[in-house]
C-alpha cells in the first residue's frame, strides 16, 4: 500500500442498531383505517419501533458498540450524535453516550440537530476535520409521528455509527458538496413531536427534483465522476418513486439505488443516510463507489470508494444483523402508549417518584452509565458495584479494587420472575439475579424478553436503556439491562 493510501480519510468501521420490535403497518391501518382510509396504500411491511426504554441516546450506544467491535475505544478523539429527536435540549446527549461507552474523559463531544441533514452535515464535518485519532459519528432517531399520519406509516427507529479517521478506511472519501436553502417541506417546532407537512407533490417537484438533482450533478462534476460510475446510490427518501426519479435524471443505474429499508425498518429521519450507508457497507466490495445524499433545507452529497480494507474488517451485526433480530408486533395500542400518545390508567404504583440525586449520579457515573464494576487487585474478585470493601468472604480487602467494565461481558440468568404487580410500561416487569462470566453479579431488569423465554442459565447481553422516567422533572434515568444473547 502506498503512503498516500495509508493516509486516506474515510470510514474506518461502521455499525448500526435496529430495535427488536417490528410493528406491522397493517395493524396501524386496521386501527386507523376508519379515519384515514387513504393510508391503505402504505399499509404494507413493517417498521422498527424502539421499546419504551429506548431513545436516540440508547440506540446510538448500541450502534456504537457494534461499530467499535475490535477497535480501541481509548483512541477516540470525538463523539458526535446527530438526531432531531434528542431527549435533552440542554444536557449533552453525546456526553451520555460517552459515559455509556466508558470512553476516557479526554474526548470531545457534540450534539448535532435541527435538520434531516444533521447526520450528513456532522459526517462531513468529521471527515474534513479527521486527525490522527478517530472520531465516532453517531446518528439516531426515535420520532413520535401523529397517529393516522403518513409519517406514522413511514417512520422507523434506528441508529447508525461510523468511525471516521485517517489510515486504512474501508471507504475512502472522494469528496463532499453541500447546498443550503430554507425550503420548508415540513417543520417541527423545538420541543414538539408533531411534524407539519406541505403538499407532497410540491415537495417532490420543487424540493427533491429541483434542489437535489442540480446539487448532486454539481457534486459529481466536482468529483470528476458521472452517474454511471455509481455502484450504490443512497437516496434516503421515503416517498415512493423519488429515488428512482433522481437516479434516472442523474444517469445512475436503477440497480445502483440502495435499499431504503422502507419495508423492513422505515425511515429513521436524520439517521437514515448513514444507516443506509452502514447497510451498503455491509455488502459492498472493494472499488465500488457509494454516493450518499441527504435532503433537508438543502442537500448534502458525499462520495466514497470502498477499499480492500473492507474484506479484513471483522464482521459486525450491521443493519442486516440487527434486522434479523426481530419480533413481530401487531400491538398498535402498546406502541401508542409507549409514545405517550395514549393515556392508560397506570395505577398508583406508577406514582413512585424517580427523582435522581444528581450528586449521587455524578459520584457513581461509571457504575450507573458505564456499568463499571470493581476487581480486587489482591484476590481477583469481580463485583458490581465497586465498593471500598471487597465482597469476597475470604478477604474483605479494603480499597483494593480497580475499575472493571462489565458492559461487554456476557452474563447468564441465575434467578428470574415475571412480576405483574410492579408498575412497568411493558408488563410483566421481568427481573432477576444475573451472573457475569468471570464473576460479578447483580440484580438486573430483563428487556427485549418474552416472559416465557426466561430460564435459569439463559445467556445474556447487557444493553444500555432508560431505567425510569422522572415525569415530574423531565429527567430520565439510564442504566444497563439484560437482553437475550444473540
Amino acid at each position: 500500500m502506498s503512503d498516500q493510501a495509508m493516509n486516506d480519510t474515510g470510514i474506518l468501521a461502521y455499525g448500526a442498531y435496529v430495535p427488536i420490535t417490528r410493528l406491522q403497518r397493517g395493524a396501524i391501518h386496521a386501527a386507523n383505517g376508519w379515519f384515514a382510509g387513504g393510508l391503505r396504500g402504505l399499509a404494507k411491511g413493517e417498521k422498527a419501533i424502539a421499546n419504551w426504554d429506548e431513545d436516540p441516546i440508547t440506540m446510538a450506544v448500541e450502534a456504537a458498540r457494534d461499530c467499535l467491535d475490535g477497535f480501541d475505544r481509548a483512541a477516540i478523539e470525538q463523539v458526535t450524535l446527530a438526531s432531531t429527536t434528542l431527549p435533552y435540549a440542554d444536557r449533552q446527549n453525546a456526553g451520555v453516550v460517552k459515559e455509556a461507552l466508558n470512553l476516557p474523559d479526554a474526548v470531545g463531544a457534540m450534539d448535532v440537530a435541527g435538520s434531516q441533514r444533521a447526520g450528513t452535515a456532522s459526517l462531513i464535518a468529521l471527515l474534513k476535520g479527521a486527525g490522527e485519532r478517530p472520531a465516532l459519528h453517531l446518528a439516531a432517531e426515535r420520532t413520535t409521528p401523529t397517529p393516522a399520519s403518513e409519517r406514522e406509516m413511514n417512520a422507523g427507529d434506528a441508529a447508525s455509527a461510523l468511525l471516521i479517521g485517517r489510515g486504512r478506511p474501508v471507504a475512502r472519501l472522494l469528496g463532499t458538496h453541500s447546498v443550503t436553502m430554507d425550503f420548508v417541506d415540513h417543520f417541527r417546532e423545538a420541543g414538539q413531536s408533531r411534524d407539519y407537512d406541505w403538499e407532497a407533490r410540491w415537495v417532490r417537484d420543487e424540493g427533491f427534483a429541483a434542489i437535489m438533482i442540480p446539487a448532486i450533478a454539481e457534486a459529481l462534476k466536482g468529483f470528476g465522476r458521472s452517474g454511471a460510475d455509481i455502484t450504490h446510490f443512497i437516496a434516503p427518501i421515503a416517498v415512493k418513486g423519488v429515488p428512482e426519479m433522481l437516479a434516472k435524471k442523474l444517469g445512475i443505474a436503477p440497480e445502483a439505488i440502495a435499499d431504503t429499508l422502507k419495508d423492513r425498518l422505515g425511515h429513521a429521519g436524520a439517521a437514515q443516510p448513514t444507516l443506509m450507508l452502514a447497510d451498503v457497507l455491509g455488502r459492498a466490495k472493494p472499488g465500488e463507489l457509494v454516493l450518499v445524499t441527504s435532503f433537508g433545507q438543502g442537500c448534502d452529497v458525499l462520495l466514497f470508494e470502498v477499499t480492500e480494507a473492507i474484506a479484513t474488517l471483522r464482521p459486525r451485526l450491521g443493519v442486516a444483523g440487527w434486522l434479523a433480530r426481530r419480533v413481530e408486533s401487531t400491538n398498535y395500542m402498546k406502541y401508542l402508549f409507549h409514545r405517550g400518545l395514549l393515556c392508560l390508567d397506570r395505577g398508583m404504583r406508577a406514582e413512585h417518584d424517580s427523582k435522581t440525586a444528581l450528586t449521587a449520579l455524578w459520584r457513581n457515573r461509571k457504575a450507573v452509565l458505564g456499568l463499571v464494576g470493581g476487581r480486587c487487585t489482591r484476590t481477583g474478585t469481580v463485583q458490581f458495584p465497586k465498593t471500598e470493601v471487597s465482597v469476597n468472604p475470604n478477604d474483605h480487602a479494603i480499597r483494593t479494587q480497580e475499575d472493571y467494565p462489565l458492559a461487554e461481558v456476557p452474563a447468564s440468568v441465575m434467578t428470574f420472575t415475571a412480576d405483574s404487580l410492579t408498575y412497568s410500561p411493558d408488563p410483566p416487569n421481568c427481573y432477576g439475579n444475573i451472573e457475569f462470566v468471570g464473576g460479578g453479579r447483580m440484580m438486573a431488569e430483563f428487556t427485549d424478553f418474552a416472559p416465557d423465554e426466561l430460564e435459569v442459565g439463559k445467556e445474556l447481553r447487557m444493553m444500555f436503556r432508560i431505567k425510569s422516567l422522572d415525569e415530574n422533572r423531565h429527567f430520565r434515568r439510564y442504566f444497563w439491562k439484560a437482553a437475550p444473547a444473540f
Binding site: 395505577g347 398508583m348 404504583r349 406514582e351 413512585h352 417518584d353 424517580s354 435522581t356 440525586a357 449521587a360 449520579l361 459520584r363 457513581n364 457504575a367 450507573v368 474478585t381 463485583q383 458490581f384 458495584p385 465498593t387 465482597v391 469476597n392 468472604p393 441465575m414 434467578t415 428470574f416 420472575t417 415475571a418 412480576d419 405483574s420 404487580l421 410492579t422 408498575y423 410483566p428 416487569n429 427481573y431 432477576g432 439475579n433 451472573e435 464473576g439 460479578g440 453479579r441 447483580m442 440484580m443 438486573a444 431488569e445 416472559p451 426466561l454 430460564e455 435459569v456 442459565g457 431505567k467 434515568r477 442504566f479
Partner: protein
Amino acid sequence: MATGIRDKVAILGMGCARFGERWDKDEDQLMLEAYEEAMADAGIETSQIDAAWLGAAFDAQNIGPSGIPLAMALRLNDIGVTKVENYCASGTESFRGAVYAVASGACDIALAMGAEKLKDTGYGGLPVRTRGTTHDMIGITGSAPGNFAQIASAYRAQHGVSREDLKRAIAHVSVKSHANGSKNPKAHLRNEVTIEQVMAAPMIAEPLGLFDCCGVSDGAACAIVTTPEIARALGKTDIVTIKALQVATSNGWELQGSGWNGSYFHTTRVAAAKAYKDAGITDPRAQLSLIEVHDCFSITELVTMEDLHISREGDGWRDVLGGFFDADGQIPCQIDGGLKCFGHPIGASGLRMIYENYLQLLGRAGPRQRKDNPVFALSHNLGGMPNQNVSAIAIVGLADA
C-alpha cells in the same frame, strides 16, 4: 465470653391486636389494643416499664419517625423509647432491643411494640418505596412477590423440581395456612381455600399467584419482658423464657459475591445454626414443637423449612406435600394462620409470631391449641429480599425446659 441469652429473660405479658383491614383505626389505636392485652397479662402498671422499643417499617404510611408516636399512644412515663426498622424483621428487632435491655441489667421491665398501618396506601400489597439514592439508580425496586418469586426459579433449577410439583407444594402451604387461620379470631383471612383455587388464582409474579402471597394488614403486637426472677416475684408461675434470639444480616455476599445459588436464604441458615446452639437444640426436626415462620410468600415458607435444618435440602417440598407441617403434622408451621392468614402488618409480625408461640406454650391458644405439650417454639422473621435480607430467629420455651 458471651454466654448467650438462654433463660436470662422471661416474657411477662403479651398482646396482639386483631389484624386485618382496620379501616376505622389509626396506628396508635392498634398499639393500644395490643398494649392493653399485654398489660393485663403482665399485671403491671405503665410506670413499671423502664424502656420501650418500637418496630415499624413504613414511616410514610403510618406514624412517622422516632419513638415518640409509641410514647404518645401509650402515654409512657417519659422513658427512653427507641424506634427500630429492619425491614419485615422489625418486630423481632424491637423484641431484641427490649430483651437485651433486660438481659444487660439496665432495665427491670422493658416493652417491645411492633405496629404497622398499611391499609392507608390506596392499593393492595406493600407500598412502593425508595431504597436510597444510589440503589435506585442501579438496583431493582420491583415488588415483594417479584423478589421472592425468584427463589422458585432457582430452587427448581437446583433440585430438578418440575414447575407443576413446586406449584402444588407451595399451594399446599397456602391451603394449610388458610385452614389454620380459619380457627383464629384475630386473623385477617379466616376462609378456607382448596388447592384448586390456589392453583387457578391470577398470577402476581411468576410462579406466585394471588394465594401464594400473604395478606397486607393493619395491626400491632406487644411484648413485655423482664427477668425470670422478677416474673416470679410478680406472681407468675408458668414462665416462658427466651432460649435463643439471633439476627443475621446480609453483607452483600448473596447479591454481589459468588457462591449463593439463589434457591435459599443464607442468613436464615446462619441465624438458625446460632439459635439452635444457644437453645441447646441439636436435632431441630425432632426437638421443635411448633414453628412460626416468615411466610410472606408460600415459596419462602417452603425453602425456610430447609434453611431451618428441619427438611433436608431439596426435600422441603416433599415434606410440605406429606403434611409434615400441617396443624396435625409433626411440626405444625403457622398454626395461627401465619403471615398468609393472620396477616402481615410488617412491624408487628415478628411479635405476633412470638405471641402465638407464647400462647401455645402456656396452653392458651384455644381451638388451635397444639395437643402435645410444646417444649420449644421457634419464630422466624425475615426482612428484605432473597439476595439481601435480615433473618431473625427467636426460640422460646418454658423456663424449666
